[in-house]
């Protein structure tokens, strides 16, 4: 079939996940943070699909599961953006540094 091995997919997923993690932990802008979280989710999706194809019992379960994840991620992004907009209306900022109410 194809000559691309499982490790390559996993490496791609790992790199993608680390980029997402880095973005989620370091970026100041809440929108970027949200996008970074999407990146991490997609890295997980790649993992799911790759294992579905290359595992000992290949099947469609993993791919269907990743479809679900994409749907849930879409819903999550919608909720996240809604919260973000509400937050922006309240505080006139999307800077994550200033959202430290947990301290109080």
């Amino acid at each position: 079939m194809s000559s691309v091995p499982l490790t390559a997919y996993l490496m791609l997923a790992l790199i993608l996940f680390c980029i997402g993690l880095f973005g989620a932990l370091t970026k100041r802008n809440a929108v970027i943070v949200l996008i970074s979280i999407e990146l991490m989710l997609n890295a997980v999706n790649i993992n799911l699909v790759a294992f579905a194809k290359y595992s000992i019992n290949p099947g469609l379960t993993g791919q269907i599961f990743s479809l679900f994840t994409i749907t849930v991620a879409a819903a999550e992004a919608a909720v996240g953006l809604a919260i973000l907009i509400a937050l922006y209306r309240n505080r006139q900022t999307v800077n994550v540094d200033e959202m430290d109410t947990m301290k109080r």
Binding site: L25, V96, D97, M99, D100, M102, K103, R104
Partner: protein, 622 residues
Amino acid sequence: MLQMSWLIPLFPLLSFILLLLFRKSKSESTAWIGVLLTGISLVMSVGVFLAVWQGEGIKTEGTWFQIGERAITMGFEVNPLNALMLVIVSLVSFLVHLYSKGYMHGDERFPVFFAYLGLFSFAMLGLVVSPNLLQLYMFWELVGLGSFLLIGFYYFKPEAKAAAKKAFVMTRIGDVGLFIGMVLLFWQVGSFEYDEIFASVKNGDISSGMLTLTALCIFVGAVGKSGQLPLHTWLPDAMEGPTPVSALIHAATMVAAGVYLVAAMYPLFQASEAALTVVAVVGGLTAIFAASIGLMQKDIKRVLAYSTVSQLGYMMLALGASGYVAGIFHLTTHAFFKALLFLAAGSVIHAVHTQNIEEMGGLWKKLRITGPLFLIGALAISGVPLLSGFFSKDEILASTYADGKYGLFWLAVIAAFMTAFYMFRLFFLVFTGEARGNEKGVHESPSVMTFPMIVLGVLAVVAGYLNTTWFGTFLSDYLAQGPVELPHGDHHGPAWIPLVATLAAALGIGLAYLIYQKGTLSRDWITRSFPSLAEVIYNKWYIDEGYDQTVVKGTRGLSKLGVLFDRYVVDGLVTAVTNGVQGLSKIGSRLQNGQVQSYGTAAIFGIVILLLIVALTGGYFS
């Protein structure tokens, strides 16, 4: 009557409690509570005394608690010595209560003063009826507390505050001695009971060195309380208290407690020749030393205070010279005439509102009652024949002479001369001549003040006839019933001793007359000839300054070292601990900054570390 004698100390205690309840009261009739209750004590004391006079006695005790085999008891005892003390204490206390009703008139804390007087009387009476050393020690400290409270009654005056503290600390030095003596006795005898202690002293259960040591330790307690030589400095300062307090505590009763202690423990002292000699020497030196200071003081109460110290020295001298009866006799007469002198001085101060004798004078005509009474007191203390002081002083001199202590005998004679001189210096300066101070508003004290003085005046005259060679030695017969075996034979020295004593008194009075009344000799006649000696005496032999330079400075230095240790070592340790904890928590609190991102970072690092550990150790699954 005797079974009830334990009630005697409780009436003043009741007065103390009641008056504390009324302490905010503005009414001065609260004084009658104290007067009435001490009056009951007085009546009962007299009843007890009469019963004991007939040869009765009582001792009742119950076990307080048990230490191993030893039972510590509490109870009361009446024997001739303490029955006499009961009468003296309750009488003077009653009269002082009455007197204070007039003297303290208008004071803001009027009921509190009487409450303190009640507390003191309770403690003193309790001390007297104690049948064992432990109980005595408790009352001993309570008496000290009463004295402290009353000296510091005018606590807003810094001198009074300092004097109260000084009295407390100085007597405490003595109390430590007494405590050590008590512990040693308990160790040796296994009991605090007088009877058992005396029994084992008699049986020779205690080695003679230990005997001397315990006797001396107990004597240290007496030295502190009775203001004897090294520890006397608190007593003159205690004159900062109200004058009735000086009469009650610092003349008649508490300071005599030291003498009483030595008398009560007399068999112990008798067993040790060395201890008796120390008592006699300390007493003799105190007598002449304090008398010399009294010659030059300007404060009427301080002159009397030094005179008290000197007379207490006399009593100690008598006890040390085996003159047991003479010591107790002088204690009795002194209580009366010195209380009289203090009350009269209080009446003078009440009239002229100063204590400086240079600002008095010519008061004889204005104080028609106080003046003659003061004269009676002065004559009695000077040892003029037929008055009480003559008999007791004569007895002391005779027993000192009979005991072979000739050096101390002559010291005592010189002290008697000085006593007569300074008492009449006081008398002439205060009552005769021209008025040198404020004359307006000088009036005799109210009868509530003069009545106690009159009673004491009568006693100061007649108390001497308790024990005379002419009419009968009632007191020594009476005291002979007690547990103390009186030294064999009466101390009737040569017949010339009364003559010498009278001569000394007459010389002193005459000299004072020539200097302060006639003016034949100028007032600085002696001071001019020996200016440096006069300077030293006027400054009380620099004893206070000496203590300041040595003991006080030493203690201060030591406590400064202690402060340094505390500040840099103890505090340093504590600060190190707190700083450590604070630093840790600062790091911890910096982690909590409210930002999800840093929490997330921390979580990631945690997981990474966990994974690393799992990977390096071979993992959970291996």
